[in-house]
């Protein structure tokens, strides 16, 4: 008899939930794990200063977030997708097919990508894009010939670098960081070493040559990290010769174990990135479903709060954590308050 009573109460709970499920009163955000720290800082301050409940921020990667964003309009879908890269044509189309047509794109600032190794490890102090291409490119130029990469130590191609085994830990392909790394480091290095020219001369089309430039050797010298920076850090901790790719904010929180190298002679700091001197940086975005503004309480307020000077400005908590604030923040603020969608200004 007990179980009959239990079942009845469960049914009652289920009935209540079905009716209550209709009202969602908190903003839901998902997407890039690079943007997550910033979004959580904003969400926390938002919850403290407004009467709305604290927004929920999930991670999972830019692509996964945008995919969920494009599932459709309605309370069971997310309101905001965080992304460490701009939305792609293909994704805009997928969104439109699911009925998500009006999307507001908000650029929150810039993030630097840094190259760091164990603090007491070999002296990796200065890199050029060419070094990284020679270290981990699939095919490199040796004596004017394109050959499969067989370099074993850094000193083999650049005598200024330590003579230790190549062991790099780079973001896996599901991370937005990987794309920036490929474009700004590998492709650049490919052009600098002349490998790209050699590829085109050998009869490749320009697109094929670019793809070949961004291919990474697969003999275990370079390891893709699919997890977060904490995993990269753990790998570096256990391998004195390892060099890893990190976000600037993560490095700044772990300066006690990591030392950072310059890229093309520039040290990565919020200042050098803001001025555009440090070459490897990328903008960070979030995308808002316009259809949800006015339906989900606090959505527009959250977006406006995110880009306000107090939060995203050069002295705000985001900049303190490692975000490079956007010099054009005022334009972004206008855009958010006017609810300008992507189609209307492009």
């Amino acid at each position: 008899m007990q179980s009959v009573k239990l079942t009845a109460s469960v049914l009652a709970i289920a009935a209540v939930s079905a009716s209550a499920a209709a009202a969602r009163d908190n903003v839901q955000v998902a997407g890039s794990s690079t943007v997550l720290p910033y979004a959580s800082i904003v969400a926390e301050a938002f919850g403290e200063n407004f009467d709305f409940p604290t927004p929920v921020v999930e991670s999972g990667g830019s692509s996964a977030g945008l995919k969920r964003f494009c599932e459709g309009v309605g309370e069971t879908t997310i309101d905001i997708a965080n992304a460490s890269r701009a939305i792609r044509e293909k994704e805009v189309k997928a969104c439109a097919d699911a009925g998500v047509t009006d999307i507001i794109e908000v650029r929150i600032g810039y993030d630097g990508i840094v190259f760091a190794s164990q603090k007491d490890g070999p002296a990796f102090t200065a890199f050029e894009p060419a070094d990284w291409f020679n270290a981990i490119g699939a095919k490199v130029l040796v004596d004017g010939e394109l050959v499969d990469n067989s370099y074993a130590t850094w000193a083999e191609f650049n005598a200024d670098l330590p003579e230790v085994e190549i062991a790099t830990f780079i973001p896996g392909t599901k991370h937005g960081t990987r794309e920036v790394f490929e474009e700004k480091v590998l492709l650049q290095g490919c052009e600098d070493t002349g490998a790209m020219e050699a590829m085109i001369d050998s009869g490749m089309s320009e697109d094929d040559a670019e793809d070949a430039c961004m291919a990474v050797r697969t003999d275990g010298k370079s390891v893709d990290i699919d997890g977060d920076y904490t995993e990269t850090l753990a790998r570096i901790d256990s391998n004195a010769n390892g060099v890893g790719v990190f976000g600037l904010a993560f490095y700044e929180n772990n300066t006690d174990t990591l030392k950072v190298a310059t890229m093309s002679g520039v040290e990565p700091t919020t200042e050098s990135i803001a001025e555009g001197e440090y070459p490897v940086s990328r903008p960070l975005f979030f995308y808002i479903k316009k259809a949800h503004i006015g339906v989900i309480p606090g959505l527009k307020e959250y977006a406006e709060f995110f880009v306000s000077d107090e939060i995203a400005g050069p002295d705000g908590p985001l900049a303190n954590y490692g975000l490079v604030s956007d010099p054009e923040l005022a334009d972004t603020q206008n855009m958010v308050s006017e609810e300008e969608t992507m189609g209307s200004n492009m």
């Binding site: 008899m1 179980s3 239990l6 079942t7 109460s9 469960v10 709970i13 209540v16 939930s17 209550a20 499920a21 969602r24 908190n26 839901q28 998902a30 794990s33 997550l36 720290p37 979004a39 959580s40 800082i41 969400a43 926390e44 301050a45 919850g47 403290e48 200063n49 409940p53 604290t54 929920v56 921020v57 999930e58 991670s59 309370e75 069971t76 997310i78 997890g227 977060d228 920076y229 904490t230 904010a249 993560f250 700044e252 929180n253 772990n254 300066t255 006690d256 030392k259 107090e310 908590p317 303190n320 954590y321």
Partner: protein, 449 residues
């Protein structure tokens, strides 16, 4: 017997006092086997001790937190320009308006105590104070408008770097490259500690508080995710127990023996071995995408974990029912009870201890499960609001204890690493309590025939 009997002519003696070669070999092999067993237990114990030592030594720090006592002057000119003391007006001043007041308060306190510093500006105190302090002071001011204009002493959290310094995680060497704090701040921390304004205390907020953002490791707590776990366990208990017990009773007592029952039995055993992440994908597809239950909600987590726990409960319940001797059933039927009466009046009460033990073990397993929760959106910056009531407890977004620990372990600030270990201690305490309850129930109600 004398020596003479054995010494000369009986090399293959097989008396009771002296074993022959074959017996010695057998005895030696038994001794070896015992040694293997002891070595296995020893290795197990060794790893257990290493594990517990690592957990406790890494995590115990999370239960203490560094606090600073700061007198803050609630300046009416800044907080209430109109002078009406109206809470709606006061709420217009954001936490950013309160931060300078706290920094000034601390700076004043340092100067009044006669501590020599190289700092000329109250804003240099920022490195010492947690960003959470502004919200604490603001909440106080809005709740007590009449205190504006007074100097109130607050016990506020110190920043995670300062806390790390008191716990030995941060040193002057390790902050050499740190842009948030410098060696002068650590001197100041030492001076304040001698002065008595800054000290470590037991931190209830770690156990009862909500999650915090990446920049405030010092504020983060496990309390909200604990509630998330509680609501999930309620769902699991109220669904898995009746369904599991009903299934077992039918299969064990009523079902005819045919290929259909065999098929169901095989499948239940197989389900128990399915990896938990599979149930997560199922939960995402069925409960969120098909039934449209809200994302990140404990009810979805609970339903998913119910699926995972059911086979465990069914298997242990059936074992408990089987252990009740047939004579009990026969006696009940013999005095004229119906089949159902014999089951509910006699068999089920006797099987109860076994069923409860199985249920508690199943719940403990579900409590420690993270993988399925990854897929239904319960990992992230989620466990921030206490639910307003029972219904919102089931439906509003929340995390769970193991998911919260996983999330902390991913974060950049090393202070979160300590909290992840601390969270493991709390989780282990819960699991231990549940297992102890299971043992006590079994001891108390168990009957042997």
């Amino acid at each position: 017997m004398t020596d003479a009997t054995f010494s000369g002519d009986a090399p293959k003696a097989s008396g009771l006092l002296e074993a022959d070669a074959r017996t010695r070999r057998r005895n030696a092999s038994e001794r070896r086997f015992r040694m293997y067993g002891l070595a296995a237990i020893g290795a197990g114990m060794f790893f257990l001790v290493v594990l517990l030592t690592a957990i406790v030594s890494n995590g115990i720090g999370a239960f203490q937190q560094t606090f600073i006592e700061v007198p803050v002057y609630l300046d009416p000119a800044k907080l209430d320009k109109n002078g009406g003391r109206d809470p709606a007006q006061l709420a217009k001043v954001s936490t950013f308006g309160y931060t300078p007041l706290i920094q000034t308060g601390l700076y004043q306190q340092v100067r009044d105590a006669g501590i020599e510093t190289g700092y000329e500006d109250a804003r240099d105190m920022k490195a010492l104070i947690s960003a959470s302090a502004a919200a604490q002071v603001r909440d106080f001011a809005i709740a007590n408008p009449d205190r504006i204009g007074d100097t109130v002493t607050f016990r506020i959290l110190a920043s995670s770097r300062v806390d790390g310094y008191l716990k030995g995680r941060v040193s002057r060497d390790s902050i050499a490259q740190d842009k948030n704090i410098d060696a002068g701040h650590l001197e100041l921390v030492d001076a304040l500690r001698e002065d008595g304004a800054l000290r470590k205390r037991f931190n209830w907020d770690f156990i009862l508080g909500a999650d915090a953002s990446e920049s405030r490791a010092e504020q983060a707590g496990l309390g909200v995710s604990m509630l998330g776990s509680l609501f999930m366990m309620l769902v699991v208990l109220f669904l898995a127990l009746p369904i599991g017990v009903a299934t077992s009773i039918y299969l064990e007592e009523f079902a005819p023996t045919n290929w259909m029952t065999d098929f169901i039995e095989v499948n239940i055993s197989n389900l128990a071995a399915v990896p938990s992440i599979v149930f997560g994908i199922l939960g995402l597809a069925v409960f969120i995408q098909f039934i449209h239950l809200p994302q990140s909600a404990p009810i979805v987590g609970g339903l998913t974990l119910t699926l995972m726990t059911l086979p465990t409960i069914v298997i242990s319940t059936r074992a408990a029912l089987k252990a009740v001797p047939p004579s009990i059933r026969d006696a009940a039927l013999g005095v004229g009870a119906s089949k159902m009466q014999s089951v509910f009046h006699h068999v089920l009460p006797l099987a109860m201890p076994g069923i409860l033990t199985g249920t508690i073990i199943g719940l403990a397993q579900a409590l420690g499960e993270t993988a399925p929760l990854l897929l239904i959106g319960m990992v992230g910056y989620i466990a921030t609001n206490y639910p307003d009531g029972v219904i919102s407890g089931f439906l509003s977004p929340n995390s769970a204890m193991p998911a919260q620990i996983y999330e902390w372990a991913k974060r950049a600030d090393p202070a979160y690493y300590e909290r992840a270990w601390g969270g493991i201690i709390v989780l282990l305490v819960f699991l231990l309590i549940m297992n102890v309850i299971a043992v006590i129930l079994r001891r108390k109600f168990e009957r042997r025939w």
